[in-house]
């Protein structure tokens, strides 16, 4: 376990404080604060959680508990092109697992990770409401339907 203390930029700390304040520093608004902060910072590293905890006057352990409970929150920065594979029922039965394996192989990362160059990150989601197109993959805001494992390389090429 290697640990280093890193200092947040003062600007960033002030922005987090502003976000907390916009929710009246109310501990009951923790999830909303986390949403907004992740929206702006891309992810929720430990030191960001510490600032939020101190602003809302709750323990860091509690904040971390909430961050790790909800899949949406991430402590790892997302890639420039976040890849999300739907593993909902329809996509799953039509081979989403094989598609996911292909992405893992090509990007050399596991679900929840980001490539070292910061270009791609990999995650799973449950149903984007396009079950007719199963299996479905999203990259950023773009939706790909009827994805076959063989087509994965082709899709990734678009982002080279």
């Amino acid at each position: 376990m290697s640990r280093v203390k890193i200092e947040l930029q003062e600007k960033a700390v002030n922005r987090i404080k502003e976000i907390c304040k916009s929710f009246n520093n109310d501990p009951g608004e923790l999830i909303n604060v986390l949403h907004q902060t992740q929206h702006e910072f891309g992810y929720l590293p430990a030191e960001v959680q510490e600032v939020i905890a101190s602003e809302l006057n709750i323990s860091v352990a509690k904040v971390y508990g909430v961050v790790t409970f909800y899949h949406f929150f991430t402590m790892v920065p997302k890639g420039k092109h976040p890849v999300s594979i739907c593993t909902g029922t329809a996509c799953y039965v039509r081979g989403a697992e094989k598609v996911l394996d292909e992405f893992r192989k090509n990007l050399k990362i596991e679900v929840g990770q980001t490539t070292p160059d910061g270009k791609f990150s990999l995650s799973c989601l449950r149903c984007v409401g396009a079950c007719g197109l199963a299996p479905v993959v999203m990259i950023g805001e773009k939706v790909y339907g009827r994805v076959a494992p063989e087509g994965v390389k082709e899709i990734l090429k678009e982002y080279e």
């Binding site: 290697s2 030191e47 709750i58 860091v60 509690k62």
Partner: protein, 595 residues
């Protein structure tokens, strides 16, 4: 109050509206098994996540079984607590919990005192029908507490103690589903969290997931070492609870038997932390008077209120949470550390033993004491003033291991000189006791007059926060008392906001004070046990021929021969300390968090 009528196991009972089925059943003498449920009556705190489902009961006309701890009685409700459907459900639930629990019972520290083990026996579980994945976490060992989360059943009692009662916030449930576990932020070790080592989590853990660091083997080895002179000190609260480990009623004083047992175990001298408590009063009381007289003479730089500093978990708490106020507490070391410092200088010299050959063991009701004696500032050239702190529970184990028949022991007396103590030293073991002891001495030193009375009932009791004004011969002294760190926080926030009217405040981290310490026999949240122990402490005080610290002849001798006077240079060096800002300790980035 509105009452409702319910039927439980064909018994008609009437209960106030809002009563849970569990409470109603208990009132009717029906015991429903529980596991995660924990109720601390006096603090108005209840842990009932309804998560373990051991307390399920059948409610007529309700489709599914109801958790009794979290279901309120409704008018006309008919409840069955032990039909076959209920029993089968409980067994299934218990087997599922056991399917993700190690089978370490034979060597588990909690064996025999484990709620899960007891339930498995009670339910007659002889075989597990479910096998599957088991969770594995790395073990986390801190100076006081060991976390073995493989044994955690997610009852979340520790979280309730850590967050709701103590407001420490070291622990929280993290992750979800099968991966869920109770852990400090970023799944770091306890040592890197704001944990105060108060040990209240250990005291309520139903399984072996949270236990104390066990030093009994180290002490056994030292006792067998002919080169070492091993001496022992016993904290005041231990004598009021140790008997429970041997089947005696709560509140039975076992001072004499405890001394006899320690002597049989091979300790060369059996001394009393109460002696050091008297010494603490001399130093802390003088410090209080000094600050007070400066304040009364108009010195604006003086910091008031003065806060007691005997409780190591409390010291950890303000170092982590209120470092901006670290100049306010008394600089007096705790009695455990004062004892160690005097033993390894004054006493070692007296008996002609070298510091490194003298081993000081303390018996404490506390787990934070284990951490305290390891603090660097309490050692000389790497040799600690106190070598090992054992809990009351560890002492009981030591006595059992040495096959000593505790109940058959005669009553014996402490050795001299560090075993001489007064009633003021004894009451250090309960909430309100330290400040009462301080008042007894400070009053007489300040006014030069004899106290008209010795007991101060206005300082006694179990209320969370108490206050009283004591007349110091025309000067009213406002005193505050808090036990439980959540209550301490309230007083501290008032001081920070400049709203505090107190001159002196006593704080003890554990509910009830040391008698309810994290190292005491488990009381399972039963406050009547705490009250019985408190009564025993005051009884011992009343029984003592001398009841004021400054009249302790051994203390008078110590100052005459060695220290000079309270707050002397030597006293400062040996008996006082300083505090650290630890608030930044947990603001660190995790490169990778481990499960």
């Amino acid at each position: 109050m509105e009452t409702i009528k319910v039927t439980i196991d064909n018994k008609q009972i009437e209960v106030p509206a809002g009563t849970t089925i569990l409470e109603a059943a208990r009132k009717a003498g029906i015991r429903i098994p529980t596991l995660c449920h924990l109720k601390l009556d006096d603090m108005n705190i209840e842990n009932r996540p309804g998560g373990c489902r051991m307390c399920v009961v059948e409610v007529k006309n309700r489709r599914n079984l109801a958790p009794a701890c979290a279901t309120e009685c409704m008018p006309g409700m008919e409840v069955n607590t032990h039909n076959i459907r209920v029993l089968n459900a409980r067994k299934t639930v218990l087997e599922l919990i056991l399917s993700d629990h190690p089978f370490d019972c034979l060597v588990c520290a909690k064996s025999g005192k484990c709620d899960l083990q007891a339930l498995a026996q009670e339910m007659g579980i002889r075989k597990l029908h479910y096998t599957g994945e088991q969770s594995h976490y790395r073990e986390d060992t801190s100076p006081s507490i060991i976390r073995d989360m493989d044994k955690c059943i997610m009852c979340r009692r520790c979280e309730t103690m850590c967050n709701t009662v103590q407001t420490v916030g070291a622990l929280s449930a993290v992750n979800r589903g099968f991966m869920a576990v109770v852990a400090p932020a970023f799944e770091m070790n306890l040592e890197q969290s704001p944990c105060t080592y108060c040990g209240q989590c250990v005291a309520v853990c139903p399984t072996g997931a949270l236990t104390e660091v066990d030093h009994t083997n180290a002490v056994i080895r030292l006792l067998a070492d002919p080169r070492k002179t091993v001496i022992v000190q016993t904290a005041p609260a231990v004598r009021a609870a140790l008997g429970e480990e041997f089947g005696l009623e709560p509140g039975t004083l076992v001072t004499g038997k405890m001394v006899a047992a320690l002597r049989q175990l091979g300790f060369k001298y059996v001394f009393d932390t109460d002696f050091a408590a008297d010494l603490t009063i001399m130093e802390e009381g003088t410090e209080l008077l000094e600050r007070l007289s400066r304040y009364l003479s108009g010195d604006a730089s003086v910091k008031l209120p003065i806060l007691t500093s005997c409780c190591p978990a409390w010291v950890n708490f303000f170092e982590h949470h209120f470092p901006d106020m670290k100049e306010i507490p008394s600089t007096a070391r705790s009695p455990q550390q004062m004892f160690g410092a005097i033993a390894k200088t004054y006493f070692a010299e007296k008996i002609g033993v070298k510091r490194e050959d003298l081993v000081v063991v303390s018996i404490m009701p506390c787990l934070a004491k284990k951490y305290e004696c390891q603090r660097e500032e309490f050692s000389t050239d790497g040799n600690p003033d106190v070598d090992y702190a054992l809990s009351t529970r560890e002492l009981a184990n030591l006595i059992r291991q040495a096959n000593i028949d505790f109940l058959a022991l005669p009553d014996e007396e402490f050795d001299l000189p560090l075993g001489e103590s007064t009633g003021a030293g004894v009451i250090f073991g309960t909430t309100g006791g330290v400040i009462e002891a301080a008042v007894r001495t400070a009053y007489e030193l300040h006014t030069g007059k004899k106290l008209p009375r010795i007991t101060f009932n206005e300082l006694r009791g179990m209320e969370n926060i108490r206050s009283a004004t004591i007349d110091f011969n025309g000067t009213p002294i406002n005193i505050g008392i808090a036990h439980g760190l959540g209550n301490a926080r309230k007083l501290l926030e008032d001081i920070r906001a400049g709203k505090s009217q107190y001159h002196a405040i006593e704080i003890m981290a554990c509910p009830g004070g040391c008698i309810g310490g994290g190292g005491q026999p488990l009381h399972h949240g039963d406050s009547s046990i705490l009250k019985a122990r408190q009564k025993a402490i005051y009884e011992e005080d009343a029984r003592k021929p001398i009841r004021k610290s400054h009249e302790n002849p051994a203390i008078i001798e110590l100052y005459k021969e060695f220290l000079g006077r309270p707050l002397s240079e030597k006293s400062h060096h040996l008996l006082h300390t300083h505090y650290f800002d630890k608030s930044q300790r947990y603001i660190i980035k995790t490169e990778e968090s481990e499960a």
